[in-house]
């Protein structure tokens, strides 16, 4: 009999509450995705290239798993709370009929265990499937190819998921059932709404709302102006201001809603009733709404940051060179490498092999003052004040012993990149700066100054600096960058460096090699062949691997967190509404007696649902306008920040995701609400 009751109740719970049952499946998927990360194709691929970084990331997974357990505990707590709250009356009846509390507790545990097993049974295969899909899609997106695809199923992840899920479910359940079992039977049997609570004069609430808005404005200002990014303490203060502002704003919001209720226009059906219900919610759950709003904000920021990172990270400079070689035994010549390539027959694999020579000007005595560009610096100082100008002034003040690059090598590079070649007189020097050291605005400023052909002195020779500033990468290794260098004619280069220079042999893979496979797999194959011949090399793949690692790690984690935050916030809001609706059941019954039909009640409840979701979501959306901007401003490169259209696209994607998630939740809550109101209306009439 007891087991029959358990089975029936458990089945009924799942049937009546699909949304919240669905919310239980989500942690299962989330845990599995996290724990099986090391089995994803991208990670396996990256582990070969960036084994240290990947190992570090994977060693962080237990910490991240702990964090996910903690965060998802709240999701389970609220989903279970709603399940138990809606059955209060039933528990009261069990106790009235003489069921012992321990037996009730066992009944609930057993029911819960059954639901948990069903959640796992649905969640784990879905998670495995999803993980497989993500693995394939990311592999396809980054161009690894799916030939070497490995099944991402992990038994370890499966066990970890089941253990973690059952652990937090049990913990949440212990707390909740403890709370329920401590209540008197009388209070279990009767649903009492929160009712009116002693209120402070509305002046205080209005003041709180106003102070909240001021705190938020201060936080936004600090975040956008960049003050928050100076130091950790500044960031802490900004976050504290934001949190306090949100809590105060939500606490004070009741004054505005009270005013709206008082000014109610009775032309609209149940306007006053709706506002009083919303006001009650805001009064009793202002902190909950504030926390949900913050969670949605965090989700939006994570989404924005995640998508932006995956879109922009390392995409600042175009890719030209596939390979760079340098002979470790004779850095000043590429002959050794050329011979090795010839001997191994790999020479034909490259459509283009060219040298880049670079070195410091010969300075026998003092390295300071080898290079001076007073005219350019004074022109910069006279330029209108801006951040870019100050950054340039600061960076260029250190450029007193720059690298020089031979013109022929650089032109070969430009040729390979399909860019117009440089032509320099004996007295001319072209400015080279790596793109990561200068913003678009800085480049424009510098190019304007270079048009005036300012004079400079290099190792005692007077020369004219010319533009536009060159930014094409010199070698395949993106970790080798030059903040400032001069491109000079070959004979000047030879005389200034006196033969002490480095030579890099750059190679671009033959078209036929990349035509049939992705560039990534072509480079991987070539790497294997070069490794076999013991030829030292730097390939684009390593750089790409590094970029890919940061991209995958950052975007995976941020998007993962964003989804979890969004789901938790919405589940908490949804359950909060449905619980308060149940507690207000008596009010709805009164409305029915006063002549309200099911349709009117549903419309009225839907309006409340819109408000109930709308308040925290709109607050979060407004905050995210500033939050995402500040976050992107703080973490992204100059180039990304200048891509306004891309930013707009990111915002549009984030907003679209938010709308879809909210729509799903609102629709599910409306469905539950309509169902409940129908139950209130029908049985009374059919009795």
């Amino acid at each position: 009999m007891f087991s029959k009751l358990i089975s029936r109740n458990s089945k009924r719970n799942r049937k009546e509450n699909r949304l919240f049952f669905g919310s239980l499946v989500i942690p299962v998927i989330a845990f599995y995705m996290l724990l099986s990360l090391s089995r994803q194709d991208v990670m396996i691929f990256l582990e070969k290239l960036e084994s240290d970084a990947v190992s570090k990331l994977l060693s962080m997974i237990p910490v991240f798993y702990g964090l996910a357990l903690f965060i998802l505990f709240f999701l389970i707590y609220y989903a279970s709370k709603y399940q138990l709250e809606r059955r209060r009356h039933e528990f009261g009846v069990y106790l009235m009929l003489g069921m012992r509390r321990i037996k009730l507790f066992l009944l609930l545990i057993a029911e819960d265990f059954r639901s948990s097993i069903v959640s796992l049974a649905i969640g784990l295969p879905s998670a495995a499937l999803l993980s497989e899909l993500v693995s394939l899609i990311t592999a396809r997106l980054v161009g690894i190819g799916i030939i070497n695809h490995q099944i991402s199923f992990s038994f370890h992840a499966l066990l970890g998921t089941a253990a973690g899920f059952l652990l937090i479910k049990f913990a949440a359940f212990l707390i909740l059932s403890g709370k329920i079992s401590r209540q008197e039977i009388g209070s279990l049997l009767v649903d009492t709404p929160d009712g009116t609570k002693k209120q402070l004069p509305s002046f205080f609430y209005a003041l709180a709302a106003l102070s909240g808005i001021c705190c938020l404005a201060a936080a936004y200002f600090r975040a956008i102006s960049g003050i928050a990014w100076y130091r950790n303490t500044q960031m802490g203060l900004t976050i504290l201001l934001g949190l306090t502002g949100t809590l105060l704003f939500f606490w004070g919001l009741r004054s505005a809603i009270g005013l709206a209720a008082a000014l109610s226009c009775s032309r609209r059906r149940l306007h006053a009733f709706n506002f009083r219900q919303i006001q009650e919610t805001v009064m009793y759950r202002s902190n909950m709404l504030a926390v949900c709003s913050l969670l949605i904000l965090a989700a939006l920021c994570c989404f924005g940051a995640g998508i932006a990172i995956s879109r922009f990270y390392g995409s600042g400079t175009p890719h030209v060179i596939d390979y760079s070689f340098q002979d470790p035994e004779n850095m000043g010549s590429s002959a050794g490498i050329r011979n090795a390539l010839n001997d191994s027959g790999l020479n034909d694999c490259f459509q283009n092999l060219f040298e880049i020579r670079l070195g410091h000007p010969h300075a026998p005595d003092d390295m300071d003052g080898v290079f001076r560009m007073d005219a350019l610096m004074s022109a910069l100082r006279e330029a209108p004040a801006s951040d870019s100008r100050d950054v340039l002034l600061n960076n260029l003040s250190y450029a007193d012993y720059p690298y020089t690059i031979s013109l022929s090598g650089y032109n070969a590079l430009l040729n390979a990149a399909g860019l117009p070649l440089l032509s320099l007189d004996q007295e001319e020097a072209a400015v080279y700066m790596d793109a990561s050291y200068v913003s678009q605005e800085g480049l424009r400023l510098l190019n304007t100054i270079l048009q005036t052909r300012p004079e400079a002195v290099l190792s005692g020779h007077t020369c004219v600096l010319t533009g536009p500033v060159q930014t094409t990468n010199l070698v395949a290794d993106r970790s080798i960058t030059l903040s400032f260098a001069l491109i000079i004619p070959d004979d000047v280069f030879d005389s200034l460096t006196s033969g002490s220079h480095s030579v890099y042999l750059n190679g671009i893979l033959a078209e036929e090699l990349t035509a049939h496979a992705s560039l990534l797999s072509a480079i991987t194959d070539m790497n294997d062949r070069l490794d076999a011949e013991h030829i030292p090399y730097e390939s684009y793949l390593k750089n790409m691997g590094r970029q890919l690692f940061y991209m995958v790690a950052a975007s995976y984690i941020t998007i993962y967190l964003a989804i979890i935050f969004l789901i938790i916030a919405n589940t908490v809001i949804g359950t909060g509404f449905l619980m308060s609706q149940r507690k207000s059941g008596r009010r709805y019954r009164t409305l029915i007696r006063l002549g309200a039909d099911h349709e009117t009640l549903c419309r009225c409840a839907r309006k409340q649902i819109h408000w109930y979701f709308g308040i925290p979501v709109v607050a979060a959306a407004v905050s995210s306008l500033f939050g995402v901007r500040a976050l992107l401003g703080g973490i992204l490169s100059y180039k990304a920040k200048n891509s306004l259209n891309e930013m707009m696209l990111i915002s549009a994607i984030v907003i679209a995701v938010l709308i879809v998630v909210e729509w799903i939740y609102i629709a599910a809550v409306k469905r539950s609400s309509d169902h409940y109101l129908l139950k209130l209306t029908v049985p009374m009439r059919e009795e």
Binding site: P193, T196, R267, A272, Q277, L591, R593, L594, D597, T600
Partner: protein, 257 residues
């Protein structure tokens, strides 16, 4: 004079076969305009079922209910909601005020349910609150009111749309004797002064003595009726007659005077 409400052979059965309970077993009566009709009976006699049938909270098994020429059972959708809101005013035993709304908002609630123009109702709110002496508490929440005040606010809510008939379900059930007396005098005053029609279920003999006619129900049938001989019979005399009937209710129809 045409009756406001006509009930003919009304039945309400629960269960089937041997387990069938006949809560109403063929009740017939009429309510005339301006009448203050009381329905008395012991617990389980069917008086609340009768009131709930009239209020369309439950559907009867058989019989006919006609309100102002309209078949109540055939009403559906908007017409049913209109019937509940505009034709009936309902006074609950436990007031059923919405505790998160002020007295004023509670009273005006039926208006917002039935899309009524607020202007003329404001005038009626003024009259009713003045008559029921609740002007000072219009902006208070139910938790700040006494039981008597709550019931008078509930009365104002029941009357705000000027319904054809007021259904009162044990309106003094949750009140002390003093507040019960105040409420009954107000209801009686409304009946006398404005010719309001009231159908009240009660088992409080004192409350019932304000009625002009009382139907006694037992086991789902009307088995006795008392009429107050107005103006000859005093309220006290009528009360004593009611007491005699209620004292003998336990003995069934053989004992009724």
């Amino acid at each position: 004079m045409e009756p406001i409400l006509t009930i003919e052979a009304l039945t309400k059965y629960y269960g089937k076969g041997a387990n069938q309970t006949k809560a109403l077993n063929g009740i017939t009566f009429q309510v005339m305009p301006g009448e203050f009709l009381g329905i008395m009976g012991s617990s389980g006699s069917g008086k609340s079922t009768l009131l709930n049938c009239v209020a369309t909270v439950i559907s009867p098994t058989g019989g006919r209910m006609t309100m102002n020429g309209k078949q109540v059972q055939s009403l559906k959708g908007a017409a049913l909601a209109d019937y509940r809101g505009k034709e009936l005013g309902y006074l609950f035993q436990n007031f059923e005020l919405l505790d998160n709304m002020t007295a004023r908002e509670n009273i005006l609630l039926p208006l917002s349910l039935h899309d009524m123009p607020e202007k003329e109702s404001r005038q009626r709110l003024k009259q009713l609150s003045s008559y029921l002496e609740i002007e000072d508490i219009l902006d208070k929440f139910p938790s700040q009111m006494s039981g008597g005040q709550k019931q008078r606010v509930a009365a104002a809510r029941a009357l705000i749309l000027n319904p054809r008939i007021i259904l009162a379900d044990e309106p003094t059930g949750a009140l002390d004797s003093k507040n019960a007396k105040v409420l009954m005098e107000k209801l009686n005053g409304l009946n006398q002064d404005t010719n309001a029609t009231i159908l009240m279920v009660t088992h409080n003999s004192d409350a019932a003595s304000y009625c002009s006619r009382i139907l006694f129900i037992q086991d789902g049938v009307i088995f006795h009726e008392l009429r107050r001989d107005i103006p000859v019979e005093t309220k006290q005399d009528f009360y004593e007659r009611i007491l005699k009937v209620t004292a003998q209710l336990g003995g069934g129809s053989a004992n009724v005077l």
